[in-house]
C-alpha cells in the first residue's frame, strides 16, 4: 500500500516531511510524510509502540523530531514546545488530562492563555461567564466554580476540549480519548468532534477501536514499527485490511529449541472478575507449558496477573494451585503457594534501585540467607553468584546498585530473585520490554529452559512474534474479557490481532476467528 496523500496542497493544514525520532539511539519513528487537511477527522492506528503516539507528540511539541520538518499552511514551523504548539493552534488532549486539581474548572480553562500583564487584574466574572458559555456549547453540566479535583476523567477531558475550543485550536489531537468514557459520553464526544470538523478544524483521533474509527473518521493512517504504512480513506478499508497493515511485518524467525513435556495442571483460575478491570477470565496452565496472554494495552492482562498474585485481588472467581482451591489476598500468600510474578514496570514495581544487585537477588528469600534471623553475607554472596552463572548477568560487581545495570540485566536479576523461591508457576509480564534484541534471545532460551524443568509459565507480552515463538497456547484478551484461545499450530499474528482489537458487538468471535480457536 502506498501513501495516497493528495498531490495538491489545497486544504492541507499541517504537513510533515521526513519526521524521524530517536530515543537513546533507537529509532522509534522513521521518515514519516503525512498531510493533515483542514476539516477532516484523521485516525492514527497501529499496534502498541508503532509510533503513532510519538508522532502525535511531535505535532504537539512534546517531543522534538530528530530529523524532518513540519509546515503549517505551507509555512515551515518549529513547534519546539507544547506552549508554542498551543500558540500555533495545536492542542493535544492527553489520555490522562492535564489539570490543576486545586483550581476551579473555569480557571483551568483559561490558565496560561491570557497575554495580559502578569500583575493585571484577573476578571473572575468574565472568566466564569465564558466558562459557562463553553460548557453550554458542549452540552456539559459542570459547575465551573467547583475545583477540578474529583471530576471524572471524562469530565476532565471535556474541560480540555472546551479549552481547545476557546483557544481556537486548528488541530486537536485526541490520544485514546474514549478509553475511560461511557458509550453515552463517547456519543457526545463524537458529536463535538464532528461539529469541530465542520468548522474547518483538523481532528487527529488515536484509538484501538476500529468501530470508532469507522464511525467517526474520514481518513486513517496506519503505523507499524515506527514507519507510516499507508494513509487511506476509511470507507475504502475493511477491518481485515487495517489489521493486515498493522501487523504485516516479517516474523522474526526465533523458535525455542526445547519442547517441554506438558504435565498436570499447575495453575487454574476460573471465572475471575474484578470490577472495572476484567470479567470472567478462566485460565489453565500446566506444568511445562508456556501460555501466552496477548492483547492491546488496557485489555486487562496485567490486572489479571496482579489479581492472581494477590496484589489487587479479584472480586469473584476461584484460583486453584496444583489441584486445590486457594485464597490469595496478598503476594506473600502467593509466594508461599509457589507462585512468582515478574512485573511489567521494572522501575517502580520490580527493583530496589539504590540497593545492591545481591540484595535485590536475595530479596524474596530472606530465610535462605538469614537462617537464624541475621543475614550472613557469605550465604547471600553464594546465592547471588549462582544466579550470575545461571542467567549470565553482566555486571561490574554484585555490590553495585542495581539501577546502574542495563535493562536486560536488571530484568535477569529480578528473574533470578524469583527463581530462588523455586516457584512452580511463573508469571512474566512483558519480560523483554526495553531489552536489546540480543538479550531477548537469551531470555527466550531461559524461558524455554524453565518450562522444560516443569515450571508452568504464564507469559504476558505485547510482541506477537515473541508469543508465537514461545507459547504452546495463546489466550487473547480485549477490553477485560478473553476473546480467543489459539493453539501454537494455528497461531498467526492476524488471528491474534483479530481477537485483540475491540470491535462492535465486541466479543462474539467472528467465524473467521473461530477456525483457529481450539476446542477445550
Amino acid at each position: 500500500m502506498t501513501i495516497s496523500s493528495p498531490p495538491s496542497d489545497a486544504g492541507v493544514f499541517i504537513s510533515a516531511r521526513g519526521i524521524s525520532k530517536q530515543f537513546a539511539g533507537v529509532e522509534v519513528l522513521s521518515d514519516v510524510d503525512l498531510d493533515l487537511k483542514s476539516g477532516e477527522i484523521h485516525a492514527l492506528l497501529g499496534e502498541n509502540g508503532a509510533g503513532k503516539s510519538t508522532f502525535a507528540k511531535i505535532l504537539a511539541g512534546v517531543h522534538t523530531p530528530t530529523r524532518g520538518t513540519l509546515a503549517i499552511n505551507g509555512k515551515q514551523v518549529d513547534v519546539g514546545s507544547p506552549l508554542n504548539a498551543q500558540r500555533l493552534g495545536i492542542t493535544l488532549i492527553h489520555q490522562e488530562p492535564i489539570s490543576f486539581p486545586d483550581l476551579s474548572v473555569a480557571e483551568n480553562l483559561v490558565l496560561g492563555r491570557s497575554q495580559d500583564a502578569v500583575l493585571g487584574r484577573v476578571r473572575w466574572a468574565d472568566i466564569e461567564a465564558r466558562a459557562r458559555e463553553l460548557m453550554d456549547m458542549l452540552g456539559i453540566r459542570i459547575d465551573v466554580t467547583r475545583s477540578m479535583r474529583g471530576l471524572s476523567i471524562a469530565d476532565q477531558q471535556m474541560v480540555e476540549i472546551a479549552r481547545a475550543l476557546d483557544s481556537d485550536a486548528r488541530l486537536i489531537i485526541m490520544d485514546e480519548p474514549t478509553a475511560p468514557l461511557t458509550p453515552k459520553e463517547v456519543a457526545t464526544l463524537f458529536e463535538i468532534a464532528r461539529k469541530l470538523r465542520d468548522e474547518g478544524r483538523t481532528i487527529v483521533f488515536i484509538s484501538h477501536r476500529l468501530e470508532e474509527v469507522r464511525a467517526l473518521c474520514d481518513r486513517a493512517t496506519v503505523f507499524r514499527d515506527g514507519v507510516l504504512v499507508g494513509t487511506e480513506v476509511v470507507e475504502s478499508l475493511n477491518d481485515d485490511d487495517i489489521i493486515r497493515m498493522m501487523i504485516g511485518r516479517p516474523v522474526k524467525d526465533y523458535k525455542h529449541a526445547m519442547e517441554a513435556d506438558i504435565g498436570d495442571v499447575a495453575l487454574e483460575v476460573r471465572n475471575l472478575s474484578l470490577r472495572g478491570a476484567f470479567q470472567d477470565v478462566s485460565i489453565t496452565v500446566r506444568k511445562g507449558e508456556i501460555v501466552g496472554l496477548a492483547g492491546l494495552v488496557g485489555a486487562g492482562r496485567t490486572d489479571v496477573a496482579r489479581a492472581i498474585f494477590g496484589v489487587a485481588p479479584a472480586d469473584s472467581g476461584t484460583i486453584h494451585v496444583a489441584g486445590s482451591q486457594v485464597t490469595i489476598d496478598d503476594p506473600s500468600q502467593a509466594i508461599e503457594l509457589g507462585l512468582a510474578f515478574v512485573p511489567e514496570d521494572r522501575a517502580t514495581a520490580g527493583i530496589f534501585g539504590t540497593m545492591s544487585v545481591e540484595n535485590n537477588i536475595s530479596a524474596a528469600v530472606p530465610d535462605k540467607i538469614a537462617p537464624r534471623g541475621f543475614i550472613r553475607a557469605a550465604l547471600e554472596r553464594q546465592l547471588a553468584r549462582a544466579s550470575l552463572e545461571q542467567l549470565k548477568i553482566r555486571l561490574a560487581s554484585l555490590r553495585q546498585p542495581i539501577m546502574e545495570l542495563s535493562g536486560g540485566n536488571q530484568q535477569k536479576a529480578i528473574l533470578a530473585r524469583w527463581l530462588h523461591t523455586d516457584p512452580s508457576v511463573l508469571i512474566l509480564d512483558e519480560p523483554t520490554r526495553g531489552i536489546d534484541v540480543g538479550v531477548k534471545a537469551e531470555f527466550y532460551d531461559m524461558i524455554g529452559a524453565l518450562a522444560a524443568e516443569g515450571k508452568a509459565i504464564l507469559l504476558i507480552s505485547s510482541e506477537l512474534p515473541e508469543l508465537l515463538a514461545l507459547c504452546d497456547r495463546i489466550l487473547v484478551m480485549a477490553e477485560g474479557e478473553l476473546t480467543a484461545e489459539v493453539l501454537r499450530a494455528d497461531a498467526t499474528q492476524e488471528l491474534i490481532m483479530q481477537a485483540a482489537v475491540p470491535r462492535t458487538g465486541s466479543h462474539a468471535a467472528s467465524p473467521n476467528l473461530m477456525q483457529g480457536v481450539a476446542a477445550r
Binding site: L83, I98, L103, A117, L119, V122
Partner: protein, 331 residues
C-alpha cells in the same frame, strides 16, 4: 440563603473561626478576666510579626515549597537595621526600614536560587540557610546586642501609638500587608500562577508558567516580609539580640499557616484562613499565661496544633482522592 450558609460552614475558615470562639468562651468561663479590651490589645500586639511573615510563608507553601530560614532572615534584617540606627543616627528611620526589607528579599532570593539552580528540596536548602544566616547575624554584629537606647523613638512608637480606634500602627501595617497579599494572590495572574505551580508542578510549564520566576518570587517575598517583620521586632521589643531575636520564629509561623488550612502539598490556602490561623495561635499564647499555665506548655501546644492541622489536611486530601477514584470508576 441557606445554601450560602451551608457553603460557609463547610469552608475550612469557618472551622477555625468556630475554634477561636470556642476557646475564647472556654477560657473566659474559667477566667473571666480574659474577656476584656486589654486582652484584645495584647493579642493584637502578639500577632503582627507572625502575620506578616505568615503571608510570605503561605505563598511559599502554596507553591509547594517551605521556608525554614525566616527566623534568621528576620534576625539579620533586624540587626543590620539596628546597627544603622545605632551607628548612623543622622539617617532617617525609613532608610533602616528599607534596608531591612531589601536584605530580607536578597536572602530570600538566595534561597530561591539554590532551590531552582540545584533543584534541591527547599526544606533542606532553608534548613541550611537557617543556620547560615544566623551565622551572618553573629558575624556582622560581632555578637553584640543593639541596646534599647539606640532604637529610634519614632519606630518604638509604631507599637504604642495609634492613628485610629486605639489600634497600634504595627497592627494596621500587618493587616494592610495581608490585604495586599489577598489582592495579589486572588486577583492577579501572577498570584494565580503560584497556585497553579503548587497544584501541579509538572503541568505548570506546559501552561506557560515560568516556574523559575514564580519560585524565585515566592522566596523573595517571604524574605522581604521576614525583613519587614525584623524592623517591627525592633519596634515592638526595643532591642535586637543576635542570639535571641527570631529564634524559633519559623515554627510559630509555619504552625499558624498550617493551622490556617494552607496545605503543605501546595496549591491550597487562603489569606483569610492564614489570618485566622495566626489569630488562633496568638490568642492561645495570650490565654495560657492568664490561665496560669507555664510557658513551657506553649511549645507543647504549638507542636500539638501543627500535628493536628496536618492530620486534618491529610484526611481532607484523602477523602477527595477517594471521591476522585469513585468518580473515575463510575465514569
Amino acid at each position: 440563603m441557606s445554601r450560602f450558609f451551608n457553603e460557609l460552614l463547610h469552608r475550612r475558615e469557618a472551622g477555625i473561626f468556630l475554634m477561636i470562639v470556642l476557646i475564647a468562651i472556654v477560657v473566659g468561663f474559667i477566667e473571666p478576666r480574659f474577656i476584656s479590651v486589654e486582652t484584645l490589645r495584647i493579642t493584637a500586639l502578639a500577632i503582627p510579626l507572625i502575620l506578616i511573615a505568615a503571608m510570605g510563608q503561605m505563598m511559599v507553601l502554596v507553591a509547594r515549597h517551605v521556608d525554614l530560614s525566616i527566623g534568621s532572615i528576620l534576625a539579620f534584617s533586624s540587626i543590620v537595621a539596628g546597627m544603622i540606627f545605632r551607628d548612623m543616627p543622622e539617617l532617617p528611620v525609613i532608610v533602616g526600614v528599607l534596608v531591612a526589607i531589601a536584605l530580607g528579599a536578597a536572602l530570600g532570593l538566595f534561597n530561591g536560587v539554590l532551590v531552582v539552580l540545584f533543584r534541591l528540596p527547599s526544606i533542606i536548602v532553608t534548613l541550611g540557610t537557617l543556620s547560615l544566616f544566623r551565622g551572618f547575624v553573629f558575624l556582622v554584629s560581632g555578637a553584640r546586642q543593639v541596646d534599647p537606647q539606640f532604637i529610634p523613638r519614632s519606630l518604638i512608637q509604631m507599637s504604642q501609638t495609634s492613628p485610629i480606634f486605639g489600634i497600634p500602627w504595627l497592627v494596621i501595617i500587618a493587616f494592610v500587608v495581608a490585604f495586599v497579599t489577598y489582592l495579589f494572590l486572588d486577583h492577579t495572574r501572577l498570584g494565580r500562577q503560584i497556585y497553579a505551580l503548587g497544584s501541579n508542578p509538572v503541568a505548570a510549564p506546559l501552561r506557560g508558567i515560568n516556574v523559575v520566576r514564580v519560585t524565585l518570587l515566592v522566596f523573595s517575598l517571604s524574605g522581604a516580609l521576614a525583613g519587614l517583620a525584623g524592623v517591627m521586632y525592633a519596634s515592638r521589643f526595643g532591642y535586637v539580640n543576635p542570639g535571641i531575636t527570631g529564634v524559633g520564629f519559623e515554627f510559630t509561623v509555619i504552625a499558624a499557616v498550617v493551622v490556617g488550612g494552607v496545605s503543605i502539598n501546595g496549591g491550597v490556602g487562603t489569606v483569610l484562613g492564614t489570618v485566622l490561623g495566626v489569630l488562633l495561635l496568638g490568642m492561645v499564647s495570650v490565654a495560657l499565661p492568664i490561665l496560669g499555665v507555664s510557658a513551657f506548655w506553649q511549645d507543647v501546644f504549638n507542636g500539638a496544633v501543627i500535628v493536628l492541622a496536618l492530620l486534618i489536611d491529610r484526611t481532607v486530601r484523602e477523602r477527595s482522592i477517594r471521591a476522585m477514584a469513585e468518580a473515575r470508576s463510575t465514569a
